[in-house]
C-alpha cells in the first residue's frame, strides 16, 4: 500500500477541465467542489419537497397530496436537508477545500479516503429518493424514524431509508477521520496549533463529534432494521422491547448532529468577518475554548429532545441544566464576532450581509433554544411548530446563510471570478425576507396549538400558515438570482485575481483558482491569519485633516 498523492496518476488517464469533477479525483479542491455542487442539487430537491409541504399547509385541509405521501415528503425533506445538503457541504465542501490550505499542506491526510467519502453520497442520495418510487412507498416516519411507527409503516421504504443513512453516516465518519488527521498531523513545519485559522479548530471539534456520535446512530439503525426484517423486539413493545431506548440512542447522535451542522459554519464566519471588516478576529483563544466546550457539552445534552417521552424527573433536570449551559460558550462566540465588527471598516458586500444575517437569525434561534431547554417550557411546545421554527432558524438561518456567505467569499478563489454584487444583494434581500416571513410565524403557531408533521390543522391557524407559505415561495424565488449569478459569472464574470479581498489566510496567497499542488513553491507560513488592523492611535494619512494632527498632539 502506498500513500496516495494527487500527482501520482498518469496524465491522459486523468480527466481535465470540467470532466474531472465527475471523476474519482484525489485532489481535495476537486472533491470539495464535488461536495458543493452535489449538495446544492440535493438542496434544490429538498427545497422542492419543502414546497410541497408549504403548499399543502396553505389550506387547513389535507387536499394537496394524500396523507401518506405527505408523510413521505416530510421524511425525505428532513433526511435530505440534513444528510445530503448541510452536513456534506459545511464539512465536505468547505472543509475539504480549505483545511489543507490552512495547515499548509498540499492535500488532506488521506486523499483516497476523501474521494471514497464523497462518492458514497450520490448513490446514497439516489437510493433514498428512489424509495419514493418504490412500490409500497418511501419511509413515512419522519427523519427520526421512531419505532413502533417505523416498524408499522411500509418496510421496504424504511429499509432503504436506513441503508441510505448508514451510507451517508459512513461517508461522514470517513471525512471526520480525515480532518482530525490533517489538522493534527499535517501542519506545515513552524505552524503552531494556536496559529491556525479558526476554521481548523471548528473542523477539528466537529470531526471529534462525528467520530464519536455517528457510529451510535449506525448501531441503532442496524438494530431497527433487525426489528423490521428479522422481527426481533429491540424497540417493539409487543415483543418486550423499549421504544424510549431507541430515542436515547437516536438522539445521542442526532443532537451532536446539529453541532456538526453548525460548528463549521461558526468557523467559516470567523474567517469571513475579519477579512471584510479589516480587523483581527476578536478573542482567538476564547473562541477555541468555546468550540471545545461546545463539543464536550454537545455530547451530554441529547435527552432534551425527550422531555415528554417518559423519562424520569431527575434525568429531565440534568439535561435542562446541561443544555442551558451550552448557551454560554455559544454566546461568547457571538459577542466575539460583534467585537470583531466593532471599530472595523466593514464592506457591505453579499458575504458580509449573509454573515450578519446569520448572527441575527442564529441569536433568535438560540434564544428560543434556551427557552426550549427548560423542561416546563418544552412540555407545552415539544413536537409543535415552535420547534420547527426554532430549528429552521438554526439550520437555515444559521448554517445555510453561512453557506451562502461562504459562496460569495470563496467563489473567486474557486473559479477566479467575482460573483456579481447586485444579484448577490437581490439574493440576500429575497432570502432574508422570505426566510423570516416563513419561519417567524411558526413560533406563534406552535405556542397556540399547532402540532408538527401534520397535513391538516385547526382552521384558526390558516392566516399565519398562509403567511409562512408566502415566505417559502419567496425563498424558492430567491434561488433564481443565485443560480443566475453562479452560472453567468462562471461563463463571463469579472476576473478576481489572486486576492480580491486582500486577505491574509494561506488560500489567498496563491492563484485563483489555485494550482493542483496549492502553491507554486513552498507553502507560506502564516503565523497571524488575522493580522489586520492598525494600532489604535495610528494616524491614517489618507484620511487626515489638519485639525486631527493638532488635536492628537503628535507632531
Amino acid at each position: 500500500m502506498t500513500i496516495a498523492h494527487p500527482t501520482d496518476l498518469e496524465p491522459g488517464l486523468q480527466p481535465q477541465g470540467w470532466l474531472k469533477y465527475f471523476s474519482f479525483s484525489l485532489d481535495h479542491k476537486v472533491i470539495g467542489l464535488q461536495y458543493l455542487v452535489c449538495g446544492f442539487v440535493f438542496y434544490l430537491i429538498g427545497g422542492a419537497l419543502a414546497g410541497v409541504i408549504r403548499t399543502e399547509l396553505a389550506s387547513p385541509m389535507a387536499d394537496f397530496v394524500s396523507r401518506d405521501t405527505y408523510n413521505e415528503v416530510l421524511t425525505l425533506h428532513g433526511t435530505i436537508m440534513i444528510f445530503l445538503w448541510i452536513v456534506p457541504v459545511v464539512n465536505g465542501a468547505f472543509g475539504n477545500y480549505l483545511i489543507p490550505f490552512y495547515v499548509g499542506a498540499r492535500d488532506m491526510a488521506f486523499p483516497r479516503l476523501n474521494a471514497v467519502a464523497f462518492w458514497l453520497i450520490p448513490p446514497a442520495g439516489i437510493l433514498l429518493i428512489s424509495s419514493y418510487f418504490l412500490a409500497g412507498a418511501a419511509s413515512q416516519s419522519g427523519w427520526t424514524a421512531y419505532p413502533p411507527l417505523s416498524l408499522t409503516t411500509p418496510a421496504a421504504g424504511q429499509i432503504v431509508w436506513i441503508l441510505s443513512v448508514l451510507l451517508l453516516g459512513g461517508s461522514s465518519i470517513f471525512g471526520g477521520i480525515n480532518f482530525i488527521a490533517t489538522v493534527l498531523k499535517l501542519r506545515r513545519p513552524g505552524l503552531k496549533l494556536m496559529q491556525l485559522p479558526m476554521f481548523c479548530w471548528a473542523m477539528l471539534g466537529t470531526s471529534i463529534l462525528v467520530v464519536l456520535s455517528t457510529p451510535v446512530l449506525a448501531g441503532t439503525l442496524i438494530l431497527l432494521s433487525f426489528d423490521i426484517i428479522a422481527h426481533t423486539g429491540f424497540f417493539n413493545p409487543q415483543l418486550g422491547g423499549n421504544v424510549v431506548v431507541y430515542q436515547h440512542l437516536f438522539w445521542f447522535y442526532s443532537h451532536p448532529a446539529v453541532y456538526i451542522m453548525v460548528l463549521p459554519a461558526f468557523g467559516l464566519v470567523s474567517e469571513i468577518l475579519p477579512v471584510h471588516a479589516r480587523k483581527p478576529l476578536f478573542g482567538y483563544s476564547t473562541m477555541v475554548y468555546s468550540i471545545m466546550a461546545i463539543v464536550v457539552l454537545g455530547l451530554i445534552v441529547w435527552a432534551h429532545h425527550m422531555f415528554t417521552s417518559g423519562t424520569p424527573p431527575w434525568m429531565r433536570l440534568f439535561f435542562t441544566i446541561a443544555t442551558s449551559f451550552i448557551a454560554v460558550p455559544t454566546g461568547i462566540k457571538f459577542f466575539n464576532w460583534l467585537a470583531t465588527l466593532w471599530g472595523g471598516k466593514i464592506a457591505l458586500n453579499s458575504a458580509v450581509l449573509f454573515s450578519c444575517a446569520f448572527i441575527f437569525n442564529f441569536v433568535f434561534g438560540g434564544i428560543t433554544g434556551v427557552a426550549l431547554a427548560q423542561v416546563p417550557f418544552d412540555i407545552h411546545v415539544h413536537d409543535t411548530y415552535f420547534v420547527v421554527g426554532h430549528f429552521h432558524y438554526i439550520v437555515y438561518g444559521g448554517s445555510v446563510f453561512v453557506i451562502f456567505a461562504s459562496l460569495y467569499h470563496w467563489y473567486p478563489k474557486f473559479t477566479g471570478r467575482l460573483l456579481n454584487e447586485d444579484l448577490g444583494r437581490l439574493h440576500f434581500v429575497l432570502t432574508f425576507i422570505g426566510f423570516n416571513l416563513c419561519f417567524a410565524p411558526q413560533h406563534w403557531l406552535g405556542l397556540n396549538g399547532m402540532p408538527r408533521r401534520v397535513a391538516e390543522y385547526d382552521p384558526a391557524f390558516t392566516i399565519w400558515n398562509q403567511v409562512s407559505s408566502v415566505g417559502a415561495l419567496l425563498m424558492a424565488i430567491s434561488t433564481i438570482p443565485l443560480l443566475l449569478n453562479v452560472v453567468l459569472t462562471a461563463l463571463r464574470g469579472q476576473p478576481a485575481g489572486d486576492n480580491p479581498w486582500n486577505a491574509l489566510t494561506p488560500e489567498w496567497i496563491t492563484s485563483s483558482p489555485p494550482p493542483v499542488e496549492n502553491w507554486i513553491g513552498e507553502a507560506p507560513l502564516v503565523t497571524e491569519p488575522y493580522g489586520y488592523g492598525v494600532e489604535p492611535g495610528t494616524l491614517e494619512l489618507n484620511r487626515l485633516r489638519g485639525q486631527d494632527l493638532w488635536a492628537s498632539g503628535k507632531s
Binding site: S66, N71, P148, L149, T152, P237, Q238, G240, V243, R278, K279, P280, F282, Y284, S285, T286, T308, S309, G310, T320, I321, S324, A327, G331, I332, F335, N336, L338, W342, G344, K345, I346, L348, C356, F360, V363, F364, I367, T368, V370, A371, Q374, V375, P376, F377, I379, H380, T384, L447, N448, P451, R453, V454, A455, E456, Y530, Y532, V534, P536, R543
Partner: protein, 286 residues
C-alpha cells in the same frame, strides 16, 4: 465633552431591560389559560420572553449600529483597529450569560416543581391496575410491570384524591375510561377545580396527549404507561391534540376536554353511567 462609554452602555442597558419587561408583560402570544398549571407556565414564559427580547434587541441593535457606523467608506482601503481581545470585557460577557442561564435554570426548576414535575408517580390513591386494558400479546403479564409508570407529571401537593381517568390512544383516536364509574367516552369530561389524573397507554404506536390551554403534554407509549395530572380552572371546551407523529391521520387525531361546573359534571357522570340491572325482588344480585 464626549459621553463616557460606560454611561452609554448603562443607559442602553436600562432602556433595553425596560423594553424587555414591557414586551414580556404586554405582548400575549399564548392561548387562554385553563388549568392551575397554565399561569405558572405563563409566568415562566414571561421571564423567558423578557430576557430574550433584551438579548435580541441588544444584539440586533449592536449589529445594525456597527454596520452603519463602521461601514467602509468609498475609497478607504485602510484597516480597522487592531484589537485582538479584551480580557475584562470577555470576563463580563461570560459571567453575565452564565448567571442569567443559571437563574433561568433554577427558576424553571421551581416552576417544574410547582407543575408537579418532581412528584412521585405512585402516590395516587384508587388506581386499579390497567392489566385488563393491555390487550396485546406481551409476555409482560406480572402485576408490577403493568402498574409501573414510566414518566409524566404526578400529583403535586397532597390534596383531595385525584379523579382517575384511563386514556387509551390508538391510530387515530383517544378513548377515555372512568374506572370508578365504568364510563367509556370519546371525549374527556372533567370537573372544575378538582385534580384529574390521566393514566395513559397507547395500543399501537407512540402518540401524545396535549391540551394547549392547559400547557401540558405527555407522550402516550405502547407498553409503557405514563401519567398526567392537572386541575382545570375555566369552564369550557378545549382541544386535545395528538402531538407525536403516529401515521397519516396524525393531523386529524384530536379530541376535546370539556370542563364542567361540579354539578354539571355530576350530571354528566350520571347520564353517561352504564345502565345497571334493576334487581327483581327476591333474585340474587351479583
Amino acid at each position: 465633552m464626549a459621553v463616557p462609554t460606560a454611561l452609554i452602555t448603562l443607559l442602553v442597558g436600562m432602556v433595553l431591560t425596560l423594553a424587555g419587561l414591557w414586551v414580556g408583560h404586554n405582548v400575549n402570544l399564548l392561548p387562554v389559560d385553563a388549568s392551575t398549571n397554565a399561569p405558572v407556565y405563563d409566568a415562566l414564559f414571561e421571564v423567558l420572553f423578557s430576557i430574550g427580547t433584551v438579548l435580541f434587541l441588544g444584539i440586533t441593535g449592536l449589529l445594525i449600529y456597527s454596520l452603519v457606523r463602521f461601514r467602509r467608506r468609498p475609497g478607504d482601503s485602510g484597516d480597522g483597529l487592531a484589537i485582538e481581545g479584551n480580557l475584562q470585557l470577555e470576563i463580563v460577557w461570560t459571567a453575565i450569560p452564565a448567571v442569567v442561564v443559571l437563574f433561568v435554570g433554577i427558576y424553571s426548576y421551581d416552576i417544574y416543581e410547582r407543575m408537579g414535575g418532581m412528584a412521585s408517580f405512585h402516590d395516587h390513591a384508587a388506581m386499579p391496575a390497567m392489566a385488563e386494558q393491555v390487550s396485546f400479546d406481551t409476555s409482560e403479564t406480572d402485576a408490577t410491570s403493568a402498574e409501573r409508570i414510566w414518566g409524566g407529571i404526578g400529583q403535586a401537593g397532597a390534596s383531595a384524591p385525584a379523579l382517575p381517568v384511563e386514556v387509551t390512544a390508538m391510530q387515530f383516536a383517544f378513548i377515555f375510561h372512568y374506572p370508578e364509574a365504568g364510563i367509556t367516552a370519546g371525549e374527556l369530561h372533567v370537573p372544575l377545580g378538582q385534580q384529574v389524573q390521566l393514566r395513559m397507554e397507547a395500543k399501537d404506536v407512540i402518540h401524545a396527549f396535549w391540551v394547549p390551554q392547559f400547557r401540558l403534554k405527555q407522550d402516550v407509549i405502547p407498553g409503557q404507561p405514563t401519567l398526567l395530572t392537572f386541575t382545570a380552572t375555566k369552564v369550557g371546551s378545549y382541544p386535545i391534540v395528538c402531538a407525536e407523529l403516529c401515521g397519516p391521520y396524525h393531523g386529524g387525531m384530536r379530541s376535546t376536554v370539556v370542563v364542567h361546573e361540579p354539578e354539571a359534571f355530576a350530571d354528566w357522570m350520571r347520564s353517561n353511567a352504564p345502565p345497571t340491572l334493576a334487581a327483581a325482588p327476591g333474585s340474587p344480585i351479583a
